[in-house]
Amino acid sequence: MNSASAPSKLYSNDVSLLVVLLDANPFFWASSAAASGDSASQHHPTAVLSFSKLLNHVIPFLSSLLLLNQFNQVVLITTGVNSCSYIYDSEEGGAESATGKVPAACSKILLRLEEFLTKDRLLGKGPDKAVASSVSSLLSGSLSLALCYIQRIFRSGTRHPQPRGSPDGPEQYVAVMNAIFTAQRSMIPIDSCVMGVQHSAFLQQASYITGGVYLKPQHLDGLFQYLSSVFATDLQSRSFLQLPRPAGVDFRAS
């Protein structure tokens, strides 16, 4: 197959549909929180982010995207350990109540997240104790969900940035690669924003093959800045913007 690394379509406007895949692997987030509580000499203080802080960055990012263009659409999908689900779709109308300090959309997101997590926990049939680094979230599942959604909408100019922290699960390799190639065929760039300690080979390959951006932010405090300056760029602008590239791509099949 062709390994064209950039879509050759000319985008005539800067409307975009963004599907964000958020990694909600509780083991990863809990362990990173525990690690930050530990002797901080071994870790960079900014190398870990608590989940709440993450949400603090991601939710404004989604709102800002909606601000960029009237026709932009944002979809949020979470990747759990046992399941994945659509959390939020900006096209959805409906009366929401702003609860307290939190704006309406945000509260909806949070509510849904909670529901998802409880469901996920119930679905889990694994052992009660697990080593955090060995539990991977279902990337392939969420990628497939995202791609199906996009196909249904069938709009040009869709992207998915994915904040992701947990390690790659080798059992998902084939499924993930399938999803990546589908994305490549449909000319959907996959951007990846990786938090956590290691690079992710899957996401590197995904971004490389589909022509997206791969980024491992150095300063996690400024995550929002990273998101809005790199990942918010629409596809039309990417033809004349220079975005950060990784030094090399790890092509190994894990």
Partner: protein, 606 residues
């Protein structure tokens, strides 16, 4: 620059005996003082007024050097020397000085002094232009190659290298050019020279034909029968002059259409008849060509090539349309015949490359070349080859089987990606991941509980305002910018681009110039060792000071703060290293030399 003092005789024309005296040449002026103090012919002339110099060939009667002046003043100064060696020394000196002046003023036009010598100049007292030609040549090279010119200016005018040293290493450049100009083959003129019209003298009954070697060459090429006749008759049966007289007579008769007179003369003189008959060689050739025609319609020849035997269609020469008696089997050459034959010969190209001096030589050379070419054509293998080709070309495509085989197209990936991948692995091996991960074993319940807690925390607190601190944001942006503009990611991606191209133009030019100067200086430096003469020693000193200058300049470039500092220092490093090696060698030699001298002086071994 040296000063040359020589005994010479000054004269204004070649024929004069000349006034003996002393000629002194300095850097920018030359003077002549006659031996006889009473004589008024003292000279002191600035070289700027001298445009060029001419000199007589080595071995001719007088050893002359003629310094020609600016065209407005006209004339020149002629000096006669006692021997050619003296004259040559002066000549070289003058040439050098003039060359220096010419490059200073950077004249574009050819020197007016280099009188163009045509090939037909007589040999006695000939004036050769070799040295000026060389000077011109050098100037042309300098003009064409601006880098060479810059190098030349820097080194020669900085008194680091002399002109001769500079060009000594570039003999290849100088020689190549002259070879090239000779190689171009000139063809025949397309004007029909062989159609010679005589000049008639109105008063007497003489008709004058003028033949030059060029015309003769053409005649031989176009009329092989005449060529054969020449080879056979001259000098056995008649002299060359007679031969040409007969030929011209035949031409004249043909032209005047006086067929009766032609027949009469031919009967008398059988040699003349040769010229009037059909050119049978041509006829043979035409027949042979027709036999060889490729049936696959390769139009090498067809029947009308044998145009001599065609019935008369065309206009006869001189526009006369009358039909000629068929009993005369003399060649009924029409204008079309002649033009066609001439065109064929011109297109075939010139068989000989030699200069035309002697008719006999021309004829023989032509005969030799014809022999060579005829051997090739009458080859059996050639016939077979032709037949095979005919068969191949008559292939009927409809009846062939289809050639399309199923194939899989290659998918060739860019090999550079492999190297990128290796780099990532290398980074990983170096510990690019940072700190070691510590594995925690967690309770599932706890993990989920933690997450839910986090979410409710957000619910309570709401989203922070501002989302990001301004200084953090600034840090992020600068980090991103550096990462994007870093050259690490651009190297090796584009095969057409080189690192040099990414520098600003001025830096690039500077570095290139320094590089070329260093090459030149080092070449001369290393070739001067071992030092045997004082001249070499001085040269090495000069080179060393120039190298020290460049060394300083390179260091300054290296220290300049810029985006490309790393690349520039990588480029400059080998240059500095080579200069360091040269300096070290020089110091070592100096030390050796001084200890040797010291030992000799004191007589003790230190």
């Amino acid at each position: 620059m040296a000063v040359i003092t020589m005994l010479a005789k000054y004269k204004t024309t070649v024929k004069e005996p000349g006034i003996p005296g002393v000629l002194k040449m300095m850097e920018d002026v030359f003077s002549f003082t006659p031996n006889d103090p009473r004589s008024a012919k003292k000279l002191k002339v600035d070289f700027r007024n001298i445009k060029g110099h001419k000199f007589s060939k080595d071995g001719s009667k007088q050893a002359l050097l003629n310094l020609t002046q600016v065209p407005e003043k006209g004339g020149g100064y002629i000096f006669e020397f006692n021997n050619f060696a003296d004259r040559n020394v002066c000549r070289d000196f003058v040439g050098k000085v003039l060359g220096k002046f010419q490059t200073l003023t950077s004249e574009q036009t050819d020197q007016p002094s280099s009188g163009k010598v045509t090939a037909s100049e007589k040999a006695t007292a000939s004036i050769e232009q070799l040295s000026t030609k060389e000077m011109e040549h050098r100037m042309k090279l300098l003009r064409e190659d601006s880098e060479l010119q810059k190098l030349h200016k820097e080194l020669v005018f900085g008194n680091v290298l002399t002109e001769s040293e500079f060009w000594a290493t570039r003999k290849a450049l100088l020689d190549d050019d002259s070879d090239r100009t000779l190689k171009q083959r000139t063809g025949f003129k397309s004007a029909m020279l062989a159609d010679i019209r005589p000049s008639t003298d109105g008063q007497t009954n003489k008709v004058t034909f003028s033949l030059t070697p060029e015309i003769i060459h053409q005649i031989f090429s176009e009329k092989p029968a005449v060529h054969r006749a020449f080879l056979n008759f001259v000098p056995v049966k008649m002299t060359e002059k007679d031969f040409w007289t007969k030929y011209c007579r035949a031409e004249y008769l043909h032209r005047t259409k006086n067929s009766v007179a032609a027949a009469a003369e031919a009967a008398e003189d059988e040699e003349l008849a040769v010229f009037l008959k059909h050119d049978d060689i041509l006829a043979n050739e035409a027949r042979r060509k027709i036999r060889r025609v490729d049936p696959t319609v390769d139009m090498v020849a067809d029947f009308s090539d044998d145009y001599i035997h065609l019935s008369v269609h065309g206009i006869l020469q001189d526009g006369n349309k009358e039909t000629i008696d068929s009993e005369n089997d003399f060649a009924k050459r029409t204008l079309a015949h002649d033009v066609n034959r001439h065109a064929t010969v011109v297109l075939e190209g010139r068989a000989l490359d030699i200069e035309l001096r002697d008719t006999r030589a021309v004829a023989e050379a032509l005969a030799r070349s014809k022999e060579a070419s005829s051997v090739d054509t009458s080859d059996e293998n050639a016939n077979l080859g032709r037949q095979e080709r005919a068969v191949r070309m008559t292939e009927l495509e409809d009846l062939q089987a289809s050639h399309s085989l199923p194939y899989a197209s290659l998918c060739i990936k860019d090999p550079r990606e492999y190297f990128d991948f290796q780099q990532v692995n290398a980074l990983k091996a170096l510990g690019g991941t940072g700190s070691r991960t510590i594995d925690y074993s967690l309770n599932t319940e706890d993990a989920y509980y933690y997450l839910l807690q986090q979410i409710s925390e957000v619910k309570l607190q709401g989203v922070h305002n501002p989302v990001v601190q301004s200084d953090t944001a600034l840090k992020v942006l600068t980090g991103l910018t550096q990462q994007i503009s870093s050259t690490r990611y651009n190297l090796g991606k584009n095969p057409q681009e080189s690192v040099l191209d990414r520098f600003p133009k001025r830096t690039k030019d500077e570095i290139m110039l320094h590089w070329m100067s260093i090459q030149e200086l080092l070449r001369h430096f290393w070739s001067s060792y071992p030092i045997t003469t004082a001249y070499l020693y001085n040269k090495v000193l000069r080179l060393k000071s120039a190298m020290a200058d460049i060394y300083q300049k390179l260091k300054a470039i290296k220290d300049v703060q810029s985006d490309f500092r790393h690349q520039i220092s990588l480029l400059i490093q080998p240059m500095l290293q080579s200069l360091d090696a040269a300096f070290a060698h020089y110091d070592a030699e100096e030390h050796k030399h001084s200890t040797k001298n010291g030992a000799r002086l004191n007589g003790f071994v230190q």
